[in-house]
């Protein structure tokens, strides 16, 4: 294993690099520092010069964070995980210390996060060169970077919850970046509330778990989970409830059905943030889910739910993606779909495979979105039907696009293939054939959706929007190409990181089946959209189905007529009650005035006494009610 020799010769650990590992808790601090300094470039403070220095500053901080995590990663390579404890709050019997897990895995994850952030921030310099909001954008990007690195390092459910909540707020603010635009505003709102719902259900789980397990540390939770089946002290119902609660946080983070809509609406945000969101931010949910897997797997109900939600999201997401005309939304629903596959992996007890999928998906998605951005920036539309014939003039973007597809869909030898193959093999071993089918179909449909997107944009006839299209600024092309490089080399990295089980071979039936499913999806799309031999499927499909997919199964409507309507009506009701009934009961006079609308003076009217009387009566009544049981027996 050559890699091992290159990385971290044991002599080094404990020395300088060891020091970097010990100080890994600094990694999230660098970006936070950058974010803090960004305040000095808020529009209120700078008048005569522009906000761009913020960008460069945060870029620098990201470089520092990246360097540190890489050094720490090297130090921890092939080392047993170490744990750091940072005491935060000690009150009464509650002792909140932040445990950090320093292992090749967590530090490797933080390297991935920082690398992506670096590229995205460079990309943003190009993509948002016309934008004046750099201060907010970069400080928020830094916030995300800090949150993500902290999340991967932290080993505590409680602090993970805290970080997820903060990232929820971050999502609200970063989606609301262009707050002058109406859809941005609603999008930010829905993203925030949807994620918050998940967070709070998770919080319920967090609250409920502690009294039972007595810890929030993932590692200790895992140990506790092993002991649970032994003692039947805990009712399975409780376990199921807790498991279910814990699952809903990730469900909302990963934009899984039925909480998937926010990701679509979040597409209103600036594209560089989309890159980050779809590649790593949604993956935070998956990460936490993986960490919680031991607890969730305790309850068949919760596990079943994970698998079902995952499968539905995978199938539904990929199908919807295949029908979108908005290029960014294709990507958003594919993110839901792949997160769905990750859910399936966790639900079928394959945390390693899940993480592998997270990695391959993150890299490939980031690349695809960078390509998408470089497209929409100078065709001035996101509407696929208005694109076409870009290949000859936009080959770099086109190639990156293809590489991205190869990295995401199961095409050997690229990353996605091995991850999915892993998943399938285990599913077959455990005989869950219907899940095998889910994965196969999802893979095929996703392949179709991606190739369709490519075909519509790059093949076909030139349209007015694409008549004039040159490759954009180098600041966007460069990160894109770098990303393509990563995607191409990912398999090697995975091999070196020993993520690829040795038993994987290309001649196994599963491998061939998987390859076939990809080939099917891609082939059909090529036939439809590149060779254009057959009429477009939207003409073949029944219009109803077509609309159903294009409009995302009308989920917005569903929300509107269920949850939103409920809360709205309920609040209207209580408001009415409050004004006319409660206030009316507690003071009739008040109610009279409120009906009459004009204010009234109690003083020097005879009503006063009556009013006092009512007040007293009501108070007395409640007093009685509360001591009803004892009243007859008063010792007086």
């Amino acid at each position: 294993m050559v890699g091992a020799d290159i990385f971290a010769p044991n002599s080094l650990t404990g020395s300088l690099t060891g020091f970097f590992a010990q100080t890994s808790w600094l990694i999230p601090c660098y970006p936070m520092l950058g974010a803090a300094f960004s305040i000095f470039w808020s529009p209120a403070l700078i008048r005569r010069s522009g906000p761009r220095p913020v960008g460069y500053l945060n870029l620098l901080m990201t470089v520092v964070a990246l360097t540190h995590s890489s050094l720490a990663f090297v130090a921890m390579w092939h080392q047993p995980p170490q744990f750091l404890q940072l005491s935060w709050l000690q009150v009464a019997d509650l002792n909140l210390t932040l445990p950090l897990e320093l292992s090749a895995l967590t530090l490797g994850a933080s390297v991935v996060v920082t690398v992506l952030n670096l590229l995205v921030q460079v990309y943003a310099i190009g993509y948002l060169e016309m934008d004046w909001g750099w201060g907010r954008l970069y400080s928020l990007l830094a916030l995300f970077e800090a949150g993500l690195t902290a999340l991967v390092l932290c080993d505590s459910l409680f602090f993970s919850y805290i970080l997820l909540e903060i990232l929820t707020l971050g999502t609200y603010l970063i989606v609301g970046f262009w707050f002058n635009q109406s859809l941005v505003v609603t999008g930010a709102r829905d993203a925030f509330l949807t994620k918050r719902i998940g967070d709070l259900i998770l919080l319920m789980g967090v609250l409920a778990l502690y009294p039972l397990a007595g810890t929030w540390n993932f590692s200790e939770l895992a140990l506790w989970a092993e002991t649970v089946p032994a003692n039947d002290a805990i009712a399975p119902l409780t376990l199921s409830l807790i498991g279910v609660a814990l699952v809903w946080g990730p469900v909302s983070k990963c934009a899984q059905f039925p909480l998937h809509l926010w990701l679509d609406e979040a597409m209103e945000g600036p594209l560089p943030t989309t890159i980050l969101r779809n590649s790593v931010v949604v993956a935070t949910g998956a990460w936490v889910l993986v960490k919680l897997a031991p607890v969730i797997l305790l309850s068949p109900v919760a596990t079943g739910m994970v698998v079902v939600i995952g499968s539905v999201s995978a199938l539904g997401g990929s199908l919807i993606a295949a029908a979108q005309i908005d290029i960014k939304r294709v990507m958003s629903y594919l993110a839901s779909a792949y997160m769905g596959l990750i859910f399936v992996a966790v639900g079928s007890a394959q945390p390693e495979t899940a993480l592998m999928l997270v990695l391959t998906h993150a890299i490939a998605t980031a690349l695809l979105l960078m390509a998408v951005g470089s497209l929409i920036l100078n065709v001035v539309t996101q509407d696929l039907t208005q694109m076409g014939g870009l290949w000859s003039r936009r080959p770099i973007t086109g190639l990156s696009f293809l590489v991205g597809i190869a990295g995401l869909v199961a095409l050997p030898p690229f990353g996605g293939f091995w991850a999915l193959l892993n998943l399938l093999n285990d599913l077959v071993d455990s005989g869950q054939w219907w899940l095998v089918a889910v994965v196969m179909v999802t893979n095929a449909v996703a392949g179709f959706a991606l190739m369709r997107m490519f075909g519509l944009a790059f093949a076909g006839k030139v349209t007015p929007s694409t008549t004039r299209a040159a490759e954009p600024l180098w600041l966007m092309v460069l990160p894109m190409v770098a990303m393509a490089g990563f995607t191409l080399h990912l398999p090697l990295v995975m091999k070196q990181a020993e993520l690829l089980p040795n038993n994987l071979s290309l001649v196994s039936p599963m491998a061939i089946g998987l390859l076939a499913s990809s080939a099917l999806g891609l082939g059909v799309a090529i036939a439809f959209y590149i060779l254009e031999r057959i009429t477009r499927p939207e003409k073949l499909l029944p219009p109803l189905l077509n609309r159903l997919l294009a409009y995302d199964f009308y989920t917005p409507k569903v929300y509107q007529f269920t949850v939103i309507a409920l809360v709205d009506k309920l609040s209207q009701l209580t408001d009415w009650l409050d004004i006319y009934v409660v206030d009316g009961l507690v003071n009739l006079v008040g109610s009279v005035s409120l009906f009459g609308g004009e204010s009234l003076k109690y003083i020097n009217t005879g009503r006063m006494q009556f009013y006092v009387f009512v007040m007293a009566a009501v108070s007395l009544a409640l007093g009685l009610y509360m001591s009803l049981y004892f009243l007859p027996k008063l010792p007086v």
Binding site: A44, R189, L207
Partner: protein, 503 residues
């Protein structure tokens, strides 16, 4: 050490009253600021002197007054009082700072505020039931004036409503106190006397219930809350800050000090009622807030909900939940004050509080960018986003209460979700969106309007990141409070015996 907290502001109030009339508002305001500033400094000094290890009261000051009535000047401080005192001193200063430089009849205005501040401080320190009651009643009239003279639309109506409700509350509280002392068989209203009084549980329950209703009106808990929206909305921002930030705390303080403190057995007995009551308040406040179209009213309703968390913590009376509840009083005070201040600024600049007319204030040049940013911050703090003080206090309450009242606690968690809903509505409509070209010629925000907001925001963030500085002061006090409360089942046994004796 303690008396100055009471008498300095009151003396200041008198001083203000006899300031030469030729002084303009700004100068009068300056004087008031100086006085309350001094109080704040004194409070900080108090913190340095406070001994964390002592469970009971400290720095006691005693002076006979009307012994035959059992009324004595008897003040002391413990963790609970300390927090309340700090809140009172700070928010008084903030309120004066946030008052407009153009306030009419300034000397009267500021002297009233100082008077109130002194009275409230006394109430928080009083070791004598009668003394507490007197000081509790003292602030009633000044507030009536502050609302009815300097308030907004419908101020007489609101002021009167406030007056009547508080009066009723006073009556009930007084009744309960007298009852306690009388049943205790003495004429001494001193707190420890009341503590030592051995009352039959049934009597305790009745007294406690009356007390709860009395203070419940003050907090307020549903269904006694309807005075609150009207009052808070009609009151000018500084007064709203005092009402929501400090006065409401008199209610919860009273419940903890006299309810939980004097009738522990009864408390443990009816705590399930309280928990339900608290959860109901939380849900009710949050849901009603969602329907509001006036941002000040929305914030007012949010206050109802948040006081519910305090009640929940009290009802659960675990050490953690009590610490949480006390800290929640402080954090709610800070956040609410910040919100009311910002709403006030928005109203003065934009000239409306209606959600459907506000928009785009986040715009850096023509909007109110910093105020919007802080509005987002305070809204999120109130919605319990981690990293801000609102979260950790609520979390402590939840964590402390869950083991005792799981269902009610989870309901309150849902409540925080709904809180997020209406604050997002508020922020979206107010800060986001595009500016209306017809109206967007607002004046710029002055440093005087910024400063108090920044101070509060800083506290909200710092205490959110480093909650130790908030929670530790009340830890020992809570421990002793909880220690006094026996387990519910023991109480029931005792109760059976007690009732049996009656039959």
């Amino acid at each position: 050490m303690l008396s100055p907290l009471i008498w300095f502001p009151i003396a200041g109030a008198l001083l203000m009253a006899c300031l030469p009339a030729k002084l303009n508002t700004a100068q009068v305001r300056g004087v008031a600021l100086a006085i309350s500033g001094a109080v704040v400094l004194w409070t900080i000094g108090l913190f340095t002197q406070f001994d964390l290890s002592l469970a009971g009261f400290q720095m006691r000051e005693f002076m006979p007054w009307l012994p035959m009535l059992g009324l004595n000047y008897d003040v002391a401080v413990d963790g609970l009082s300390l927090m309340m005192i700090a809140l009172n001193s700070l928010l008084t200063w903030i309120a004066i700072y946030s008052s407009a430089k153009t306030t009419a009849r300034p000397r009267f205005f500021y002297s009233l505020i100082l008077l109130v501040s002194g009275g409230v401080a006394g109430a928080f320190l009083a070791q004598n039931l009668l003394l507490f009651f007197l000081l509790f009643e003292i602030e009633l009239v000044p507030f009536y004036l502050l609302i009815s003279i300097w308030g907004g639309t419908k101020r007489e109506y609101a002021a009167t409503k406030f007056l009547l409700y508080t009066a009723i509350a006073g009556i009930l509280i007084f009744a309960a106190f007298v009852g306690t002392v009388w049943l205790g068989g003495t004429l001494d209203f001193s707190y420890e006397q009341a503590l030592s009084a051995q009352l039959p549980i049934s009597a305790q329950v009745v007294l406690l219930s009356i007390l709860l209703v009395g203070f419940g009106i003050k907090i307020p808990l549903i269904p006694f809350h309807t005075w609150l929206p009207d009052t808070y909305v009609s009151a000018s921002p500084p007064i709203a800050i005092l009402l929501g930030g400090v006065l409401a705390k008199l209610g919860t303080y009273g419940i903890f000090r006299f309810g939980l403190g004097l009738f522990p057995e009864a408390w443990s007995l009816i705590s399930p009622f309280l928990a339900v009551w608290a959860a109901a308040s939380v849900m009710y406040g949050a849901i009603t807030a969602i329907a509001q179209k006036d941002i000040k009213r929305m914030v007012a309703y949010s206050s109802i909900g948040h006081m519910g968390y305090v009640m929940l913590g009290g009802a659960a009376f675990t050490e953690l939940s009590i610490v949480g509840a006390i800290s929640q009083m402080v954090s709610h005070g800070l956040i609410l004050a910040l919100l009311f201040h910002l709403v006030g600024v928005v109203e003065t600049k934009v000239g409306t509080r209606q959600l459907d007319q506000l928009n785009g204030l986040m715009n850096p040049l023509r909007g109110l960018p910093m105020m919007s940013a802080l509005l987002v911050l305070s809204g999120m703090a109130s919605a319990g986003i981690p990293g801000l003080v609102g979260f950790i206090t609520e979390f402590l309450v939840f964590q402390g209460s869950y083991s005792v009242f799981p269902i009610q606690t989870l309901l309150c968690v849902v409540g925080t979700g709904l809180t997020a809903v209406y604050f997002v509505i508020l922020i979206n409509r107010t800060c986001f969106g595009k500016l209306d070209n017809e109206r967007a010629y607002y004046d710029k925000v002055t440093g005087n309007e910024r400063a108090p907001a920044l101070v509060l925001a800083a506290l909200v963030v710092v205490l959110g990141l480093q909650p130790n500085w908030l929670v530790h002061w009340s830890e020992t006090t809570s421990r002793s409070l909880v220690a006094a409360v026996p387990m519910a089942q023991d109480v029931r046994i005792a109760l059976q015996a007690d009732l049996g004796r009656l039959d």
